[in-house]
């Protein structure tokens, strides 16, 4: 098991650095970091000065090598934009993003899986239709709009929740719902489809025939098999939520890592973008790895693979 994990880890690092090299080149090709750094009011001469001071006039490979060498020693440099160490900047923003991501995926799983199961038990029933409607609505509704509606209703009209910010746990309720609702439909549909598939299979009929209770059939036999693809999907969704909650973070003024990444790209803030991409790709790698482990635990057949 250990060599397997080490091999995977090595591969993961390789993937992470390939990603970082590609993103570095893309950022370099997409715009002039000196111009972005100088800001809107700078003159051509200002930009030239900044180009010299920051060393943007050196070849790209040299600059990437520089970055890589420092990154390997754990030094992600200073954000061009904030003039602060990237590591502490990202650590601070990640707290918000992680809280939001974990709450969001839990909310999505806790609502989508039961709904999917219920929908699969009685296909084409009213319950199924309602679940279908909820999932279609979730898929179709832009999250910024949903967010604003929640703000209007719960923060302004009812005055129950604070409209935006990240100061207390109450600030996270609406963003969690918006983010989770967006991830919910796919999970629900997959649970439903998986359950329908499994419920029609031979071993379920056998389980029922030998007199197993319906609850035991549903949860011990059916769900355990149907949930396997859901776990993989949830892992990807989780990665997406951490990196892609830009809209939700922006509407609720949450200042998380996703919003930071989005803004940093526009600002050509190379060190911040590079470090964030590394962090996000590591997240994806870790989550898919965890999902594999979890699936192996759920399905012994996968352990040998």
């Amino acid at each position: 098991m250990l060599p397997f994990i080490l091999k995977r880890l090595g591969l993961a690092l390789l993937v992470a650095f390939t990603v970082s090299f590609i993103s570095f080149s893309l950022l370099f090709l997409s715009g002039d970091p000196a111009a972005a750094l100088a800001g809107e009011t700078a003159s051509g001469e200002d930009i030239e000065a900044i180009r010299r001071i920051y060393g943007f006039d050196r070849p790209m490979l040299v600059q990437y090598g520089d970055w890589l060498f420092s990154a390997l020693r754990g030094d992600f440099g200073e954000s061009y934009y904030f003039k602060l160490p990237v590591a502490s900047l990202i650590a601070e923003r990640l707290q918000v993003t992680m809280t939001l991501g974990v709450c969001g995926i839990l909310f999505a799983l806790l609502t989508a899986v039961p709904l999917g199961v219920v929908a699969a038990i009685r296909p084409n029933s009213l319950t199924d239709r309602v679940a279908l409607f909820l999932s279609v609505a979730g898929q179709a509704m832009p999250s910024f709009w949903f967010g604003l509606i929640l703000i209007v209703v719960f923060a302004i009209q009812l005055g129950l929740l604070p409209p935006s910010g990240a100061a207390t746990w109450r600030h996270f309720i609406m963003p969690t719902i918006v983010l989770g609702y967006y991830a919910m439909p796919a999970i629900m549909r997959l649970t439903r489809a998986g359950m329908l598939d499994v419920l029609g299979s031979d071993y379920i009929r056998t389980a029922r025939a030998k007199g197993a209770g319906e609850t035991r059939v549903l949860f011990k036999h059916a769900l355990r098999n149907a949930i396997i693809p859901v776990v993989s999907l949830a892992a990807v969704q989780m990665g997406f939520m951490l990196g892609g909650s830009i809209v939700v973070e922006s509407v609720f003024a949450l200042h998380g890592a996703g919003y930071l990444a989005w803004e940093s790209i526009a600002r050509n803030d190379l060190p911040t973008v590079q470090a964030l991409i590394l962090v996000f790709s590591m997240f994806y790698i870790v989550f898919t790895f965890l999902a594999d482990v979890l699936n192996a635990w759920l399905d012994p057949r996968m352990r040998s693979a």
């Binding site: 000065a49 709009w145 302004i156 003024a253």
Partner: protein, 506 residues
């Protein structure tokens, strides 16, 4: 994120909110004024940011040697009691005594010397070099007398010293540097900073020991600033009473907010000027814009008044000069091109384009203005291949001389001197698409003369020629909306700087 959708949703949010007219609960009782910034401020250290939000904090936290009254545009002493030109490149200041920084450090000549010498050195990387690169060094004469040496003659020095150049505490800055200053700013200003979460949250407290400054004394005890990127969310916060003041509010939303009657909506002009830049030097290859008849046709084709009335609204005005009217030297006695599409067509025909021509047309902001401009041009036969780019991308193209026609804007960094705009673009720098020798010569005299009359004379020549030759098509000035709770009393100024020191509770 789709901006247009966002704008539309704002209407919905507003209508819904308007159905339950809640009273606004301002934080008058707690003495805290809650304000929103839209953009994440990069660094509170004013030498290391280049955004409007940074200027707002700079004016609150620090002081300059000189102060310009935003109403009368007169210069009075602030940290300096008086000043005089020793020669063309040396300014001597008598400093105010008894001023202390927020950390208790006493203000004296050493602080001025340290600050000037630090910011003037290019390696230290001050972000907007133009604000500081005219200074060579500073030297101490005695504890409260200091001389600033200029690199060359620079009459706008007084304006810059009253604006972006603020004085830092030497001992603290030597130790903390820009990143330390950004996290724990220390100045002499009317407000001291008590908390900074980079880019997100800034808390200011009134400086009880503020010196007898022309800025006046702070009245509001505490200012709490949060960054809220979405304007709709800002409005929601305003409705729920957790914000007291928002600014840079789009015209349509400000109008709706005004109609609700719960908030004060104030509109003020800004120094930003919108203009069309034409490649009269022919840097982008064979372009019709090298012909003055074509450039005049473009000028006649634009209905500036309609743009102002229908789109910009508020305190915006039509301009024909490549500078903002209040700026020193920005004379208004120039050729004015009234809207006349027939004349535009005649001029095009005379120039050899009876059926018009087609050109690339670039813009980086205010898409709806750019589209309106494009439709005016189309109406006289100039077909536009419209391209919307990010600011930095368009500027790069522009510096490489590959832009035949673009919609540009310039805010002059709130510097009330024509050199901050005309000289920025007509002195053969990389952004100069005109490259007129005469204009360059005149601007060189105007920018470096210490005689105000001579400066006016030469700016007049340059600006009149730019208008006569129709090198640009200046169109309008921008405006901005401030919306605040009725508990707040504030009169915005025309330079788009929020002045907390001028705010009070009703």
């Amino acid at each position: 994120m789709n901006k247009r959708l966002l704008d539309r949703s704002a209407l919905l949010a507003l209508t819904l909110a308007a159905t339950t007219a809640l009273p606004a609960f301002a934080d008058k009782a707690s003495g805290t004024l809650n304000v929103a910034f839209t953009k994440e401020l990069e660094n509170v250290d004013s030498y290391f940011n280049s955004s409007r939000e940074g200027v707002v904090l700079q004016r609150a936290v620090w002081d300059g040697l000189i102060y310009r009254d935003p109403e009368t545009n007169e210069y009075v002493g602030n940290l300096a009691e008086s000043w005089e030109w020793v020669d063309d490149t040396t300014l001597e200041f008598k400093l105010r005594e008894g001023v202390t920084f927020h950390n208790g450090e006493a203000f004296n000549a050493d602080d001025v010397v340290y600050t000037v010498n630090f910011v003037a050195k290019e390696e230290n990387g001050v972000k907007t070099q133009r604000n500081v690169n005219w200074m060579d060094s500073a030297e101490k004469v005695d504890d409260y007398t200091v001389r600033i040496k200029l690199k060359q003659k620079f009459p706008a020095a007084i304006e810059f010293l009253s604006g972006p150049v603020s004085m830092y505490p030497n001992e603290y800055y030597a130790e903390a540097g820009p990143s330390g200053m950004g996290l724990k700013p220390v100045g002499t200003g009317p407000y001291k900073v008590v908390d900074v979460v980079p880019g997100q949250h800034f808390v200011l407290e009134a400086n009880e020991n503020y010196h007898d400054s022309p800025k006046g004394q702070p009245e509001i005890e505490k200012i709490d600033i949060r960054t809220i990127p979405d304007v709709n969310t800002q409005m929601a916060e305003l409705f729920s009473g957790s914000l007291d003041l928002i600014w840079q509010v789009p015209a349509d939303q400000a109008e709706k907010l005004g109609e609700m009657g719960q908030f004060t909506v104030a509109n003020e002009s800004t120094m930003r000027v919108g203009y069309l830049q034409m490649d009269s030097a022919g840097r982008s290859g064979d372009t019709p814009f090298t012909d003055p008849l074509v450039r005049k046709a473009v000028n006649y084709a634009i209905n500036r008044q309609e743009l102002v009335d229908a789109l910009l609204q508020g305190s915006s005005k039509v301009v024909y000069t490549p500078c903002f009217p209040s700026q020193f030297g920005c004379i208004q006695d120039v050729t004015e091109y009234e809207y006349d599409p027939e004349k535009a067509k005649e001029l095009l025909a005379e120039a050899g384009y009876p059926d018009g021509f087609s050109t690339e047309f670039y813009a980086y902001r205010d898409r709806q203005y750019a589209e309106a401009i494009a439709s005016y041009l189309n109406a006289v036969g100039i077909d536009t291949d419209f391209k919307m780019l990010q600011y930095s991308a368009l500027r790069e193209l522009n510096m490489d001389g590959e832009v035949p026609l673009s919609f540009q804007t310039w805010g002059s960094y709130s510097i009330n001197d024509a050199s901050a705009m005309v000289s920025q673009f007509f002195k053969h720098g990389s952004l100069d698409s005109t490259r007129d020798e005469e204009v360059l010569e005149w601007l060189n005299v105007a920018d470096s003369s210490t005689d105000p009359d001579e400066r006016i004379e030469y700016y007049t020549k340059a600006i009149q020629k730019i208008a006569e030759e129709a090198y640009w098509a200046p169109m309008f000035t921008y405006n901005t909306n401030y919306v605040f709770s009725q508990d707040v009393s504030y009169t915005p100024t025309a330079d788009e700087v929020l002045r907390f020191v001028d705010m009070s509770w009703n």
